[in-house]
Symmetry: C2
Subunit: 395 residues, 2 copies
């Protein structure tokens, strides 16, 4: 813990570290839910917010125009691992960063690449210095370290960038979880140092979020949250959850960590989750979410709606000419029928994935907007209580 | 030729056969090009027109909203073979036809299924009665005849339906081409009879277009065109071209057939073609076109523009951050760069196909609108003369 004062000093010194503004505009009296806003150089984000995942610089099967005008996404994600490998840093730099490359003018957040190195790459080798790995695309050898991941994220140029961490799997032995957490903390100090030594490349601010780890062990989570909280970053993330553990444990760890992370900074629960997971975690004090679920499950024919979950490939929708989602806000919800969408999936037509991805993203963004509205109106828990059973049932 | 008087009689008697209105609003003085309009119960089509191909009830990778508002498509195609196999007639009938099923409210044309039976199905067997074949999807056995193809197209419910024909391959021996043409003529009389005996199912009119065959033999094409002309249908199609023959032969046959088909009825050149093919054929008197090229080639990374053809997968576009098409009318042309689009194709991202399909369709529809404008303004041939070399060059 000896490094904390130095880290704090660096964070407060660094002019890059004070420009993002987060303010809480309303709180729920029955829970830890809060409604706020984050102001970045690329615009304002209303929280709680869901961030669609744009892995390789594209939210799969969705046009940027639809993302902006129909889904009303306020911030999207890019994956450092994917973008580093393709199109690569040279092209991203020439394009003026990811915003210039993909034409998305609103805020972007990039992860640190760690999660993908562990889940996608071949022959990875981790040590204190960093991770060496082989690309899942062409087998080429690469190295990620806290320092070069900061440099890479400077080049990608997201508004919010993440510290390089190790995301432990579930289940994870206590000893490994503890060592891994300590490594993540060590890496954080190197990330902060490098972040402090470098400047944004494209004339707008970037904010660095550190990540709480500690697997499913309350004492480790507490230690990690305290360490991360003490760093004084502009926002804080909770990693290593939603990796297979029961939902109850995820909520327990999230509640614990949220109770320690500073109240006046946004809290980001990484990789979460189902619509119900999101509402429960908002109640615990989380402000930001990302997940591939709406797009990935959409491409497999699973639709999330306010009435429940639809597997559109199911025979039962074959002759159901009702709208995809009569309560839905998206143009696809009213324009296409369930029977037509099922046909597209059965026939392997791309439009099926396009419709389902758009529907699901529209639904996720609607859900967090509704949550925000109910927090501000004071009836969030009552509304959530009515929503959860509907969200989780199979139609 | 003995059947012609009876056919004519049937055609004039049948109340279904006089409701589509075609009028010619302008003619080019230097060519046979004409600008017209076709009024159907689902709206007006400005000719010359290009019809995007919506094989299985979806123009691949394009939303119906984009097709209407961005591409400004006035009529789309459906393939009888594909729709008959999937989703099948029962579902299409319950949906109130293809318009009800896919939500496209403007005119639709369906082919007769013949072309796909010959090109896609397994173990097809053709005789005077019709064609038996096995589905390319599940091997199930089916039969198409002039009669049931009329019935099927009644159920699909397109505004314009096509007679059941045999489309000869290229090259094709004279004897086979002659026998095939005569069979197509015999089948036509059966199609007309069945069409006359049946009514539209959904409260709007359907028009039947017969198809000229005769391969690349001028005498057969002449005989077929005269036969088809004498039938007195509301519109006439030219089939069996653009199947591999040199463009010069295609143009020669098209010119010959156009000179025989009635001037006051729309002429539809099936399955054509490149942007240059379309302009040349408009000059010969063709009013309607369809082709999978803008969407299929788009999905392979080929873009048609007013400055030439782009293979976006080419290394040369890797760091080209200029707009996809600075002269383009589509939102994708200005919103995305060549380098970004190349990245999407290299990374296998669906958005690549979506952008390229939309760009190409928008370009094709722009091209025929421009052609129409220049016909009405009196400088069509001069404009075409300037366009052709640009359209065909590789960028």
């Amino acid at each position: 813990m000896a490094k904390i004062p130095i880290l704090c000093y660096l964070l407060y010194l660094c002019p890059n570290f004070a420009r993002m503004e987060f303010s809480i505009l309303g709180r729920d009296a029955q829970s830890s839910a809060r409604a706020g806003q984050i102001i970045t150089d690329h615009g304002t984000i209303q929280t709680p917010i869901f961030m669609p995942v744009g892995t390789a610089g594209t939210v799969k099967a969705v046009h940027q125009r639809e993302l902006k005008e129909d889904v009303k996404a306020e911030i999207i994600l890019g994956n450092t691992y994917h973008l580093y490998l393709r199109p690569g840093l040279e092209i991203l730099k020439s394009a003026g960063g990811l915003h210039g490359f993909n034409g998305w003018e609103r805020p972007i957040l990039t992860d640190s690449g760690g999660y993908q190195v562990y889940s996608l790459s071949d022959r990875r080798k981790l040590n204190e210095e960093g991770v060496t790995f082989q690309s899942h695309i062409d087998g080429s050898r690469h190295k990620f370290s806290p320092e070069n991941v900061m440099d890479i994220q400077r080049i990608i140029g997201a508004d919010i960038i993440m510290a390089f961490d190790e995301c432990t799997p579930y289940p994870c032995e206590y000893g490994y979880a503890e060592r891994s957490m300590k490594l993540t903390h060590q890496w954080l100090s190197r990330c902060v140092k490098r972040f402090h030594e470098t400047d944004p490349l494209y004339g707008y601010n970037q904010s660095l979020f550190p990540i709480v780890q500690g697997s499913t062990y309350a004492d480790l989570r507490r230690e990690s949250a305290e360490y991360i909280a003490s760093v004084g970053a502009e926002g804080n993330a909770i990693g290593g959850l939603s990796v297979g553990e029961p939902h109850e444990i995820m909520y327990e760890m999230t509640a614990l960590v949220c109770s320690i992370l500073p109240d006046e900074k946004p809290r980001y629960l990484m990789g979460v989750g189902t619509p119900a997971n999101i509402l429960e975690s908002i109640a615990l004090g989380v402000d930001m979410f990302d997940c591939v679920m709406p797009t990935r499950n959409g491409r497999n024919g699973m639709l999330f709606t306010s009435q429940g979950i639809i597997n559109i490939r199911n025979e039962k929708w074959k002759s159901d000419f009702s709208q995809i989602d009569s309560d839905g806000q998206m143009f696809v919800d009213a324009q296409y029928s369930k029977a037509y969408l099922r046909h597209l999936f059965v026939a392997g037509e791309m439009l099926g994935s396009m419709i389902a991805s758009l529907h699901n993203l529209g639904f996720y963004l609607w859900l967090v907007r509704e949550a925000r509205k109910h927090i501000l109106e004071g009836d969030f828990m009552q509304w959530k209580h009515g929503m959860i059973p509907r969200l989780t049932q199979r139609l």
